[in-house]
C-alpha cells in the first residue's frame, strides 16, 4: 500500500463519496441546515479529504447503487431480527446453547468488502466474525447457537457476500 | 500601567519558542539566540528592579480584566529581586553550558532552559494562586527535562524521584487551592487576603488546614524537613548549569511562602495572622541540623554542595520564621547570597570534577588536578562563602539573621543550632577540600588539561558577587529593609492590586 506514485496535480475531489458523507456529517453534527453551515460544511468536506488523501491512496468507486440500497435494507432488517433472536437466546437457558466456530471461505477480495462482510456478520443473527486469515481467504465466525454449520455458511455467502462482491467488483 | 512586570515573562517564552522554531538551523544559532535572550533578560530585570524601587507595586492586568477576576502580575521589590537573581544565574549557566558544550548532550536544552525561566519568573510575578500553580508546573516540567538532560544512571534515578515527589506536591497544591477557593471563592492573592480578613469563625478550620497544606507544598519546593529528600541527589546529579539554575528552585518555595502566606496570613488576617510561623522556625531548625549532618556525610562534592544548599534553605526558613522585619530583611540578604553562590559553586564543582577525570567529584585520592591551585583557591573561596565563614557574604547573611534573632524567645536554641551546624559544615568542607586538592597522588601527572577559561568566567562572575555583597552590604541591606517594609505593608499591596483598573475599551 504505497502512495509513492507521483501526482501531477491535486485532485480537487479525490473522494467524492467521502466529501458527500462529510458534508452530511457536518450538517448532522451541527444539527442544522442554516446556509452558513451548508457553505462551511461544503468547504470542510472538500478540504478534509484533500488533507487526508494520503491515507486513502486507492480509489473507492461504488458501482451498483441499487445493490447497495437493497443490501442496506436487508441488513437493517436482519439486525432487527438478530436482536430478537439474540435476546431469546440470552434470556433462555444457556445450557441448551450449542456455540461453535465456523470457517467461511471468502470469494470477495476487496479489503473494504471483507471488512463490511465481517461487520455485517457480527450485526446479524447469532454470529460474530472473529478473525480473518492472514491470506484473506478465510473468515472465522463464532455462532452463539450453531444448528447446522453448512446452512449458516451458505446463508452468509448468499445473503451478504454475493451483493458485496457486486458492489466492489469494479475496483 | 507599565508592561514591565510582563517583560520578564514574555521574553524567555518568546526566546524559547524561537529556539524551537529555529532548531533546524543548528546549535550555533540556538546558542546565540539563547545567550542574547539571557542577556536581554538581565537587562530587563535590572530595569524592573529600578522601577520597583519607585515605591508602589507595579500591577499588570492580563487580558485587561481587573483583579480579582483576571490574572494580575505584580512587580514589587521582592519579585524584581528574585527575577534579577534568576536572570543572573541563568546568564551564567547558559554561558557555562555553551562553553562546556553541555547543551549538545541531549535535545532541546536551550528551549527547556528559557521556558524554565518563563516558569520561574511567572512564579515570582504572578498575583494569583492558581496561576502560581500553573507556573510551578511550567517550571517543574522544564526542570524535569533539564535535570535529565544527557541521561545516565544516577541522573535518571534522581530525576525519577524528583519528578514523582513533585507530582505528589502538585496534587497537594491543588487540594489546598481548591479548599481555599471552596471557602473564599477567589484566587487572587490580595483578594484572598481580604476574604480571610472577613472570614467567619466557623470557616477558620478549613482555611487554616489549607494554609498549612499549602505551606507544606511550598516547603516541599523549598526543601524543608521532612520533605527535602528529593533535593540532595537531584542537585548532585543534575548537569552543572542546571544544578546552578536549580539554586533558585528552592528559593521559589521560600518566595511563595513569603508572598502567599505572608499576604494571606499576614497582619490583616486577624486570629490567623502568622499562625504558620512557628512551624517554619521549628522545621527550619530541624532541617538545618540534618542538612549540616548531610554535609558531613556527603560522598562527593556535588552532593555536599546540595546539602549546603539545604542548609541555606534551612537558614532562610529560620530567618523567615523569626517573624520580624529585621529577620525578614536579613533573610532576603542571605537569599541573594546563597542563591548566587550556590550556583557558582555547582559550576565550580563541575570544573573540579572534570579536572579530576575518572575520579569525578568523589572524595577520594586522585591524580593531581590540572589548574589545581586556581580551582583550589576558588574552592576555598566558595566554601567560605557557603559555610558562612568570614569575610564573605555568607557570614554577614548569617550574622544579620542571628542579630535579628536576639529578640526571639528561642534565641539560645536558634543560635546554638546555627552555630553548631556551621561548625559541622566547616569541618566537612575542610575535610573534603583536603581530600580533593591535597590528598593527590603527588608524583602522577595531572589528568588531562580539561580547563576552559571561558567557562570559568561564569564561576568567577557568580562567586564574585559574594565580596560585592560584603562591600555594598549597606546599600543592599537598605534595599532589603525597604523590600521588607513593602512586604509588610499588606494594605498597600492589596489596595494596589485590587484598585488597578483596566484600560477603557472603545467599543467598535
Amino acid at each position: 500500500m504505497k502512495s509513492s506514485e507521483p501526482r501531477k496535480f491535486i485532485q480537487l475531489l479525490p473522494h467524492p463519496v467521502l466529501t458527500m458523507v462529510l458534508w452530511i456529517i457536518w450538517l448532522l453534527l451541527n444539527n442544522t441546515l442554516a446556509p452558513g453551515h451548508i457553505v462551511l460544511g461544503f468547504i470542510l468536506a472538500v478540504i478534509i479529504p484533500l488533507l487526508t488523501t494520503s491515507f486513502w491512496p486507492e480509489k473507492i468507486i461504488l458501482s451498483n447503487p441499487w445493490v447497495i440500497f437493497k443490501f442496506f435494507w436487508v441488513v437493517i432488517w436482519d439486525i432487527l431480527i438478530a436482536n430478537m433472536v439474540v435476546a431469546k437466546l440470552i434470556l433462555g437457558p444457556s445450557r441448551r446453547l450449542k456455540p461453535g466456530f465456523v470457517l467461511i471461505d471468502l470469494e470477495i477480495q476487496h479489503p473494504l468488502g471483507i471488512s463490511i462482510l465481517a461487520n455485517t456478520i457480527s450485526l446479524t443473527p447469532g454470529t460474530v466474525s472473529c478473525d480473518v486469515s492472514p491470506d484473506r481467504k478465510q473468515l472465522k465466525v463464532h455462532a452463539l447457537h450453531l444448528e447446522n454449520e453448512m446452512d449458516t455458511i451458505h446463508e452468509i455467502k448468499q445473503r451478504y457476500e454475493t451483493p458485496l462482491i457486486k458492489v466492489f467488483q469494479s475496483c | 500601567m507599565t508592561s514591565l512586570p510582563f517583560l520578564p515573562l514574555v521574553v524567555p517564552l518568546l526566546i524559547g519558542i524561537s529556539l524551537l522554531l529555529i532548531q533546524s538551523l543548528g546549535l550555533k544559532h540556538q546558542r546565540f539566540v539563547s545567550l542574547m535572550g539571557a542577556v536581554a533578560l538581565v537587562w530587563i530585570s535590572i530595569e524592573s528592579l529600578f522601577v520597583s524601587l519607585t515605591g508602589e507595586p507595579q500591577v499588570f492586568i492580563l487580558g485587561n480584566w481587573a483583579a480579582p477576576f483576571g490574572i494580575v502580575l505584580v512587580l514589587d521589590q521582592l519579585s524584581a529581586m528574585m527575577v534579577l537573581i534568576t536572570s543572573l544565574l541563568a546568564m551564567s549557566a547558559i554561558w557555562y553550558a555553551i562553553s562546556q558544550k553541555i547543551d549538545n548532550k541531549g535535545a532541546h536544552f536551550h528551549t527547556l532552559f528559557h521556558i524554565q525561566l518563563f516558569g520561574l519568573n511567572g512564579a515570582f510575578l504572578t498575583g494569583d494562586v492558581f496561576n502560581l500553580f500553573v507556573f510551578f508546573e511550567v517550571l517543574l516540567l522544564a526542570s524535569y527535562g533539564l535535570i535529565l538532560h544527557g541521561g545516565g544512571r544516577l541522573r535518571t534515578k534522581a530525576g525519577l524521584h524528583y519528578v514523582v515527589i513533585n507530582l505528589i506536591g502538585s496534587t497537594l497544591f491543588l487540594f489546598a487551592v481548591g479548599a481555599l477557593y471552596g471557602i473564599l471563592g477567589t484566587l487572587n492573592i490580595a483578594d484572598m487576603a481580604v476574604k480571610i480578613a472577613e472570614l467567619p469563625v466557623e470557616d477558620y478550620g478549613i482555611v487554616s488546614a489549607a494554609g498549612l497544606l499549602l505551606l507544606l507544598v511550598f516547603g516541599l519546593k523549598a526543601a524543608m524537613f521532612p520533605l527535602y529528600l528529593w533535593l540532595p541527589q537531584a542537585y548532585a546529579n543534575a548537569p552543572a548549569p542546571v544544578a546552578a539554575l536549580f539554586a533558585i528552585m528552592t528559593k521559589v518555595g521560600l518566595y511563595a511562602i513569603i508572598r502567599v502566606h505572608g499576604t494571606l496570613f499576614g497582619s490583616t488576617a486577624g486570629d490567623l495572622a502568622y499562625f504558620y510561623m512557628p512551624w517554619l522556625l521549628i522545621l527550619g531548625l530541624i532541617t538545618l541540623l540534618l542538612a549540616a549532618l548531610g554535609v558531613l556525610a556527603a560522598r562527593g562534592l556535588r552532593e555536599q554542595i546540595a546539602y549546603l544548599v539545604l542548609t541555606s534553605v534551612a537558614t532562610l526558613l529560620i530567618g523567615i520564621g523569626l517573624n520580624s522585619p529585621a529577620a525578614l530583611s536579613a533573610s532576603l540578604y542571605y537569599l541573594i547570597h546563597s542563591t548566587l553562590i550556590a550556583g557558582g559553586f555547582f559550576l565550580l564543582a563541575d570544573m573540579i570534577a572534570q579536572g579530576r577525570g575518572i575520579y569525578d567529584d568523589r572524595f577520594e585520592s586522585s591524580k593531581p588536578i590540572f589548574k589545581g591551585i586556581l580551582l583550589g583557591s576558588f574552592f576555598i573561596f566558595a566554601a567560605i562563602a557557603m559555610t558562612g565563614l568570614p569575610p564573605l557574604s555568607g557570614f554577614f547573611g548569617k550574622f544579620l539573621i542571628l542579630a535579628a534573632a536576639l529578640e526571639h524567645d528561642w534565641f539560645a536554641i536558634i543560635m546554638a543550632t546555627m552555630l553548631i551546624s556551621s561548625l559541622f559544615m566547616i569541618i566537612a568542607v575542610a575535610k573534603s577540600g583536603s581530600q580533593l586538592f591535597y590528598q593527590t597522588q603527588i608524583h602522577q601527572k595531572p589528568e588531562g588539561n580539561l580547563f576552559s577559561k571561558k567557562a570559568f568566567l561564569a564561576v568567577v562572575l557568580l562567586l564574585g558577587i559574594s565580596p560585592v555583597l560584603v562591600i555594598l552590604a549597606n546599600p543592599i541591606s537598605a534595599f532589603t529593609d525597604s523590600t521588607t517594609l513593602q512586604l509588610l505593608d499588606k494594605i498597600q499591596y492589596i489596595d494596589t492590586v485590587l484598585n488597578t483598573l483596566p484600560i477603557e475599551r472603545v467599543q467598535p
Binding site: - | 500553573v134 535529565l148 544512571r153 535518571t156 507530582l167 496534587t171 487540594f175 471552596g182
Partner: protein, 132 residues
C-alpha cells in the same frame, strides 16, 4: 449526593496514595493518575454540586454552576496528562538506564525472576483462559 462525591474522592485518594507508595514505576504512575483524578474531582466539587445548570449562557436558564472551578479543573486535567506522559516515558528511561523498573533501581533478583519476559515461548496450551 455530596456524600457520594466525597466518598468517591476519598476512595480515589486512598487507592492513589497506596499505589503511589509502591516500589515499581508502573503502579506509581497509576497511583499518581488516580490522585490526579481525585484532586480534579475535589477541585471541581469546590464549586459546589449543581445538576442541569451548565455554565452556558442561556436566557432560559436563570442559574448556573460555578464556571471557575471547571476552568481550573480543565487546566489541571491537561497538566496532569502532560505530567503522566512525561513520567511514563521517564519510567521507560529508568528501566533502560537502571535495568529494572524499581523506583530506586534496586535489582531485586528474586522477584524479578518470576516476571522475566524473555522467557522462552511456551508451547500453546489448551486451557489458557486464566491470563495474568
Amino acid at each position: 449526593m455530596e456524600l457520594l462525591v466525597a466518598l468517591s474522592i476519598g476512595a480515589l485518594t486512598a487507592s492513589g496514595v497506596f499505589l503511589t507508595l509502591r516500589a515499581r514505576t508502573f503502579p506509581v504512575v497509576l497511583g499518581l493518575t488516580l490522585l490526579a483524578y481525585a484532586v480534579n474531582l475535589f477541585l471541581f466539587a469546590m464549586g459546589r454540586l449543581t445538576i442541569g445548570l451548565p455554565p452556558i449562557i442561556d436566557p432560559a436558564q436563570g442559574q448556573y454552576a460555578d464556571p471557575l472551578p471547571q476552568a481550573l479543573v480543565l487546566t489541571a486535567i491537561v497538566i496532569a496528562f502532560g505530567m503522566t506522559a512525561f513520567l511514563i516515558v521517564l519510567a521507560l528511561k529508568a528501566r533502560a538506564e537502571l535495568g529494572n523498573d524499581h523506583v530506586d533501581g534496586l535489582n531485586l533478583a528474586k522477584d524479578e525472576a518470576s516476571l522475566d519476559h524473555t522467557l522462552p515461548p511456551r508451547k500453546p496450551q489448551k486451557q489458557a483462559g486464566k491470563t495474568i
